[in-house]
Subunit: 413 residues, 4 copies
Amino acid sequence: MDFAPDVQTAGLREEVERFFAERILPAEHIFEEQIAAGDDPWATPPIMEELKAQAREAGLWNLFLPDENGAGLTNLQYAPLCEIMGRSPFLAPEVFNCSAPDTGNMELLSQFGTAEQKERWLAPLLDGRTRSAFSMTEPHVASSDATNIATRIRRDGDEYAIDGIKWFTSGAMSPRCELLIVMGVTDPEADRHRQQSMILVPVDTPGVDVRRSMHVLGYLDGPHGGHAEVVYEDARVPASYILGGEGEGFAIAQARLGPGRIHHAMRAIGVAERALAMMVERVQGRSTFGSPLVDKGVIRQWIADARMEIEQARLLVLKTAWLMDTVGKKGARIEISAIKVVTAELASRVVDHAVQAFGAAGVTQDFILAELTAHARILRIVDGPDEVHRETVARREVAASRDAATTYAVAPR
Amino acid sequence: MDFAPDVQTAGLREEVERFFAERILPAEHIFEEQIAAGDDPWATPPIMEELKAQAREAGLWNLFLPDENGAGLTNLQYAPLCEIMGRSPFLAPEVFNCSAPDTGNMELLSQFGTAEQKERWLAPLLDGRTRSAFSMTEPHVASSDATNIATRIRRDGDEYAIDGIKWFTSGAMSPRCELLIVMGVTDPEADRHRQQSMILVPVDTPGVDVRRSMHVLGYLDGPHGGHAEVVYEDARVPASYILGGEGEGFAIAQARLGPGRIHHAMRAIGVAERALAMMVERVQGRSTFGSPLVDKGVIRQWIADARMEIEQARLLVLKTAWLMDTVGKKGARIEISAIKVVTAELASRVVDHAVQAFGAAGVTQDFILAELTAHARILRIVDGPDEVHRETVARREVAASRDAATTYAVAPR
Amino acid sequence: MDFAPDVQTAGLREEVERFFAERILPAEHIFEEQIAAGDDPWATPPIMEELKAQAREAGLWNLFLPDENGAGLTNLQYAPLCEIMGRSPFLAPEVFNCSAPDTGNMELLSQFGTAEQKERWLAPLLDGRTRSAFSMTEPHVASSDATNIATRIRRDGDEYAIDGIKWFTSGAMSPRCELLIVMGVTDPEADRHRQQSMILVPVDTPGVDVRRSMHVLGYLDGPHGGHAEVVYEDARVPASYILGGEGEGFAIAQARLGPGRIHHAMRAIGVAERALAMMVERVQGRSTFGSPLVDKGVIRQWIADARMEIEQARLLVLKTAWLMDTVGKKGARIEISAIKVVTAELASRVVDHAVQAFGAAGVTQDFILAELTAHARILRIVDGPDEVHRETVARREVAASRDAATTYAVAPR
Amino acid sequence: MDFAPDVQTAGLREEVERFFAERILPAEHIFEEQIAAGDDPWATPPIMEELKAQAREAGLWNLFLPDENGAGLTNLQYAPLCEIMGRSPFLAPEVFNCSAPDTGNMELLSQFGTAEQKERWLAPLLDGRTRSAFSMTEPHVASSDATNIATRIRRDGDEYAIDGIKWFTSGAMSPRCELLIVMGVTDPEADRHRQQSMILVPVDTPGVDVRRSMHVLGYLDGPHGGHAEVVYEDARVPASYILGGEGEGFAIAQARLGPGRIHHAMRAIGVAERALAMMVERVQGRSTFGSPLVDKGVIRQWIADARMEIEQARLLVLKTAWLMDTVGKKGARIEISAIKVVTAELASRVVDHAVQAFGAAGVTQDFILAELTAHARILRIVDGPDEVHRETVARREVAASRDAATTYAVAPR
């Protein structure tokens, strides 16, 4: 057991840290001003493209992708880099071409795509020229249970016809979005986990209606293409657009969620670090009733708790990354659920305390804490609400108890 | 001791409840649609004026005001009515001309205003024809400690000249806002609690710059006039515009905060009831993994906890109202601090659980829960952050311990 | 609505408060010393009988009993008196002949007993000459679900024969205990809530084996007769010893639990007040790292939270008492469950903070806080674990939602 | 970074695990029965000596001691072994001669003792033939601030004379205890951290009065020698009994606390694992209201939370051990404070849930959970209350903020 990072990771971490401090952090205000000045909330501000170019030139590009199409890092190596990006979650991930849902979509295309699919859809995503969306969640069912999904994908000759309504199709409002990866039922009679398939749907396909943007606690998440409600009404694509084959939807979704969740978890640690750092800075410059805020015991408790919880959560994220690298996504399934819950709640808690320490300023547009509040809140819901993941952890624990060699014989005497 | 409401209160509660169910609740969507359709985010939608007219006609008007200018109810009588309004906090309070900051401002004018001040400013507010703002919080100091306030109000001949910067001057973005009540320092050499004064400043006074709207977690709170940053630069008003006399600012602020806080507390109970009701309705219509959400133990725990906490908090609010009625604001000071903390945290907690039970829908513009999240969050900061009020409660407790007749002799043997 | 106590209650409260401060509090150490000096842990120390005589002489006797056999107080009137007793829970309740399980047993005998049963069993209990035990909980089933109870009570000619094993039969270790009220199944074929009966069993009945004392987190609860494991093996009593009739067991248990729970709740408030008072006293006399503990922000937060939570919980207990007085035990059923949960958790929380503020001293025999820790902990389990009562509250809330006139139409748009 | 244990650790873990399952767990009841059957609560039951002999023979002896006197393991290697011992904290640690306070005392003697001191005191402790006590905490001051300590150690010719009163001198009630290591003030005029010294005091020194046993929430902790109050009244020892030199007391105390705290932390993880395992076993065998407890959502949440929190806490403990091994105790100071807090609170929380899941059985002498409740509770106080350690973490965080290269410029715009 060894808690020191390997040399390559240490070096990359230093590079990303420097890029973050020198380029990204100072650009946050420019990013916001360009958004405010523009009249299309879905447009990508120019500063983003400048930073992307710089990051690519610096070799900090597609860091998330473990195969030859990307940086070739393990999850354990990527984790500290992803965490740094999380400190500026509305700007940094895309700068390094590491932003959801493109990351997950690129992984799917890289892993399950045909040569044709890769050429048409993966290449421009890897270049950061286009964006994509993942169209899974539905408004009319509890989508955390994937078997509830109702969208139909019917084979009709050489085509598939798609009918259904999705929302929280993140990224689809962006003018740069070209591809929707849609999950739906191809065979309602099949086994529970063989009913669904995934299919690639160009956003300009007739019958696809990107109807409206869903707000997240008042925010549009505009430059990233928002979170769209998309209606599919007899939307038809060639049969070759199926991803990985009919009935593979559930398995592909699982494959996608593992990395997706750990990336969220890594970034959530970054969010918590950002909020903590801002809180500690702020309370040193304000006083009430005769003493600086930093000397108030309750605020010091928030600070200490944040530090202790962050350290613990980070280690579990790193261990989970290591498990994914060594025993695979499936072997790390329980830990992935655990870090999903732990980091989402952590980020919410620390951001909440930071807002409180800022007072009224904390909820305004002047500081990133307000938008982080919304961002951290939604983390407790996306990729399955925390309660579903807790259940996963509990189920394993009960099963493990049944198989345990050592028992404590807890019947009454 | 008797927990049954008096006959008048019971009757009014029924009336307000009916008005709420029949008129206000169905108007919520209209209200939102009119806002969405308009191009001035600060305009008051027409439905508001219609509902106000109906409420006034029904005799449900200025219910908050205990004196002859209003409905003449005690705090204890007003409490359950105010709570109902809290169930639709962006619409209902104004319908009954019971919305902050006008309520507090009307109280101040009613209590401390000269005949002239009343005629010019109070009358139209009582009629619901104009709106007003309270300009106290400053961005550059921790304003929860009123002695930090830096805005200067200098006497200069027959005028006062005001210089300073305020924010969270709620209501000031509204085109209907005509009056700013400003708190500032008239005598920096005076005793700590005699330095400040309050002064009435017409919003169109030269030197008054309503500079920008402060967002609250992404929301504008537009129809209520938002929360403005206001810069005062040699803004001059006649000396007669002072409220209650020089050096009275701190005392008047205290007088204002008591009712203000209890109204917030009453409405916060309503917010919690609304969120709980929505949660309980919602979870009966959704299923995951083979059983309806309403059967999940964790959700049932949220429901039970919400109910138990609401009942307790409501009783403390009612008792505090009764104390204000019987021993006065000062005598109820500690309880006012207590309910401020208790109800703000309660509302945040219940709304948070409701959002979680709704899943992604909970954070969208489709349900009021998203905006309630922001609303409940800010309640933990407005009128002094919870931590300041906890300190008030603790201080009294320690003092009471010193005076206690019965002691427990806790030195070691 | 009125939060002032009536004159009689105010007077009694003053009397009990004075008796508490002058007689009981100074006797706590004597009580402990007499226990320590004695060699029978189950014996009642002499000081108890002295205090009982004084209380009876002062007319402060059987205050809990609402009918002509007792003080004739309503629940609302008794509540503040019972709370004071809770501040010294190992001494005070018995002093006023108001200690469980005798209180509940006296209520049952008074309400359901035959004249003969009353004369033999109730009269000496009312006099404080004997003690009694309630034998319901069983070690081999989850007894919070009364239908799990397995003890058999078989009719055999003019007798009932009892077979089963009980534990937590509180009071049965006392040499003064003469009566066991036993719950068991008379008819396993009857409707679910008509299977059980209650029966009066003299403790010296052959076949009754008071086998051992169950410890409560290391404490014996000796002077009150501990918490016995009792084995019934063909224990036979005359048929006339049945209480209220065959099949009435469940209904009588329900009747007993209402007052039992509210008494626990009232006393738990007293426990919390005691712990808070001790904590506030203690932290004024100790310093670390240059400042007194009372100035540490975290401790002040504990103090403030304790005060705010106590005030709320007390009001809900009082309201519940008022409901029991006005709409009956059944009408107050949900509130009884609520206060059971709320006060047990409150007492645990405040005692825990007090212990922490005392440091190592808090866990020693030198202060009552150690035994209060055990006492408060068990309150979260006795009379049904909190989780069962939360479920009761949730069930009603869901039912109420189905019947609600006002709905919020929470289906997606 | 690598989360896999090294080969030696993996092997040892397997051995200790097997020894635990085969020898220790089945001996717990024997241990309790021998205590119950004996009439000296301070006597060590025979089973302990049998197990010690077996452990020593198996080579599982003095595992905690990193130098040539012990097993020579690093902290990181010892951690998983110590955790297993924590699963039976009243029996296992002593079996492997790894129980506090002897471990810390052996470390001190090994590190700071003279050859003479080692021969007389260390050798028999290493052999498990004697026991020792650490006499630091005082009843009359808040001892978490070591500068409060008032016991005087005066040089008088060739002797030191000791005067003072200590309590929680763990182990001193044992007839096998031969040595007290006492901390006191040698020079009240010296610098704050140079005033204290440590001195070796044979327990039979005239003037040493082991006056009484301090209970811990009702428990005696008898077989380990309890927690004594010890009065020193002109107790005189040769000057050569000083440990490490005058004025070294504070530094030695710090040196002792590091490993002491991490051992507590490791064992606390074991306590939590034990409680979790018992809870999961128990809830599979009980039902209420128609379904097994294991299917209740709230209990499953307890299980999931326990697992997630244990995993995180363990990783932080392991990382702290690694830091102690690589950068030293001082470099790991903040992390040592963090794990002290984290694991103590974790153990309390999990044990509390387990007790609740057990119902009344959980508080009885029939299950270890009752005594674990007391054990876990006191962990939040020993070695400095959690609040003091939180302050240590907060202080570092604030200092780190001042030195940070990257700042977030949190002044208002």
